[in-house]
Symmetry: C2
Subunit: 121 residues, 2 copies
Amino acid sequence: MKSDFDNNIPIYLQLVEQLKRDIISGKISAGERLHSVRDLALELKVNPNTVQKALVELEDIGLIFTERTNGKFVTEDNALIEKYKQEYADKITEKYIETMQKIGLDKNEVLLLIKDLGGNK
Amino acid sequence: MKSDFDNNIPIYLQLVEQLKRDIISGKISAGERLHSVRDLALELKVNPNTVQKALVELEDIGLIFTERTNGKFVTEDNALIEKYKQEYADKITEKYIETMQKIGLDKNEVLLLIKDLGGNK
DNA sequence: CGCAATGTATTATTGACTTAATACAATGAT
DNA sequence: ATCATTGTATTAAGTCAATAATACATTGCG
């Protein structure tokens, strides 16, 4: 797995976002077991403490749960996952539109720009 | 001026982005004098050193210039400003689309979402 | 001249993130 | 039973952003 982190944002927060996306996109399925804290740390080339900190946050919001001595698993609550997906999509979309408006582009200009950029799929 | 900063990103970088947007949107005009480092620090309620650090970055990329003992001014090179505006819009748009694809939404779904969200203007 | 305002530089301190190196607790498998 | 694997906790160190408190240099102005 590629692990390119932005130096200007705490790694554990970027990890939270990355894993959240993996879950809401279905890349990691509901009920699926995550790699162990130590393994994830090796894969991502970060400290186990950093991974642990991220996973605690994901557990706090209910996206994963822990079976002690066995591992951590993605929630089996598909409705919750779907809720976070909608929430995530809305949040970053609103933030994006807001930023574009700050530089003076309205929604129509945004729509045109998107049609021209970012792959044709 | 409201100064809501994200605790998880260095303030000086958020300041660079904010001022860059103010310039490329025309909120601060070409050739216009910025408030002094000390005044900006007071307005934004941050340390003068933090403001200074941000302004150095803006000067490095040519968006502002300094007249010692007189102040700092927005560049008068409108072509440069326009270049950064295009660059900025493209960059955040591509990043946005990329993120949406990571959670499994394609461009058509993105277009629909934008039409529904973010004000009607 | 003397002073105020400008940008700039320096030193010290605090706090958060990250890493490193361990250690402990609990469970499943051999 | 023993051991490996899991999550979890602790302590120490290093880095960097941010603040605070100054100080210096240069220019314009009264």
